[in-house]
């Protein structure tokens, strides 16, 4: 399986681009590597592959690591909502399905879906 052509074509435009603390260029390489080379079950979770772990599950540390400094609700729910929004936005750029979830160790991780997603382009509402 290879990385999304759309994502690779757009690579040059994404150089240095960050959404909160997530660098899209780094993410692009992580996705390529994950799709080409990940056969290690330790990093997989029911069709999802772990791209990176943040080695913590504490809200304040997650806010620092991912630069979520504008967040007003710093509770677990507030951080989770912001992570859901962030995952959606990077999924849109990557043309992949990404999500934040807990790793086997109980820390926050960023996961990529290994299930091929539709590539159709929908019109705006």
């Amino acid at each position: 399986m290879i990385a999304s052509a759309d994502f690779l074509i757009r690579g040059d435009k994404m150089e240095g681009l960050k959404i909160y603390g997530l660098c899209l260029e780094r993410l692009r390489h992580q996705i390529e590597i994950a799709k080409y080379g990940c056969h290690d079950n330790r990093y997989q979770l029911e069709g999802w592959v772990l791209l990176e772990s943040y080695q913590t599950n504490k809200e304040e540390e997650i806010i620092d690591i991912l630069d979520l400094y504008d967040i007003e609700d710093r509770t677990c729910t507030g951080v989770k909502d912001r992570l859901d929004d962030l995952a959606l936005t990077v999924s849109v750029f990557a043309r992949e399905t990404l999500r934040f979830d807990l790793t086997h160790d109980g820390n926050l991780g960023l996961y990529l879906s290994l299930t091929p997603i539709k590539s159709s382009i929908l019109e705006a509402a």
């Binding site: 959404i19 936005t89 849109v92 750029f93 705006a124």
Partner: protein, 266 residues
């Protein structure tokens, strides 16, 4: 919702912006905003809302483009002089962003048609140029519980406020009754710096975008004034008037009455 390649490019500065992102852009693309007046303020607000990808923009205006409008009404041009303003602005905004549906409504807003005109929209922008229309739009929005972003300009000054019914002041809390005819001059009588429409219209557009994406604090219970001569912005606190005739619990305006919208024109 998936974004096309063109949309990813077009909205990339929104998508990477904390607080908007993909979810905020989706909200913008699904939003419905109506602008009362396709004059100086309406052109500026409409331009930025169309650029931002606000999905459906209603434009209400009954006038035609005149050469004297072109000093400040940036959606019109020499080519559209004589054309209805709503058609002129519609073609400009659609050329800027084909994602956006522009609904041109060539009507003068009256107490008889305003509720129907506003009913299809989530947010109302007042860019009208006369007091009776301003009060009519305020009263309709309060009665219909629609958010209203109101702007006004004259000379070297402008002001903007955001009214969210049930959550703060309304225009009548600020100025209870329509001023008598002739007390306040119009732009055609007193003149206006064209770029002021850009300043105030842009502020209105930002207020609308904040309302749509649910980010930040809008100008509820506040009036922001701008004095171009001293380059001064002032934010005035506007308390809700407990005796307001329209937004108070014991208000006596329960339906739209007679508003003389004929006496003042663009």
């Amino acid at each position: 919702m998936d974004f096309s390649e063109e949309q990813l490019d077009r909205y990339s500065r929104h998508l990477i912006l904390p607080g908007i992102g993909a979810r905020g852009q989706e909200k913008l693309l699904r939003a419905r905003v109506v602008i009362i007046g396709a004059g100086g303020l309406g052109c500026a607000v409409g331009y930025y809302l169309a650029a931002a990808g606000v999905g459906t923009i209603g434009l209400v205006d009954n006038d035609t483009v005149e050469t004297s409008n072109l000093q400040r009404q940036i959606a019109h041009s020499m080519k559209t002089v004589g054309m209805p303003k709503v058609d002129s602005a519609k073609s400009t905004f659609e050329a800027l962003n084909p994602d956006v549906v522009i609904v041109g409504i060539r009507e003068r807003v009256t107490q008889d048609n305003i509720q129907e005109l506003l009913s299809d929209y989530d947010i109302v922008v007042d860019g009208s140029d006369n007091f009776p229309t301003r009060y009519l739009v305020n009263d309709a929005c309060v009665l219909m519980k629609k958010a209203l972003v109101s702007g006004a300009i004259l000379g070297f000054e402008g002001q903007v406020t955001t009214i969210v019914p049930g959550e703060g002041h309304c225009y009548r809390c600020l100025f209870e009754e329509v001023p008598p005819q002739g007390i306040v001059p119009s732009c055609s009588q007193a003149g206006v710096i064209g770029a002021i429409t850009g300043v105030i219209g842009s502020l209105q557009a930002v207020e609308v975008i904040k309302l749509i994406v649910g980010k930040g604090k809008v100008l509820k219970n506040s009036l922001l004034t701008y004095d171009a001569l001293t380059t001064t912005f002032r934010r005035l606190t506007i308390p809700t008037n407990p005796d307001c005739p329209v937004c108070n619990k014991h208000s006596y305006i329960k339906e739209l009455g007679v508003y003389d919208t004929q006496y003042c024109r663009a």
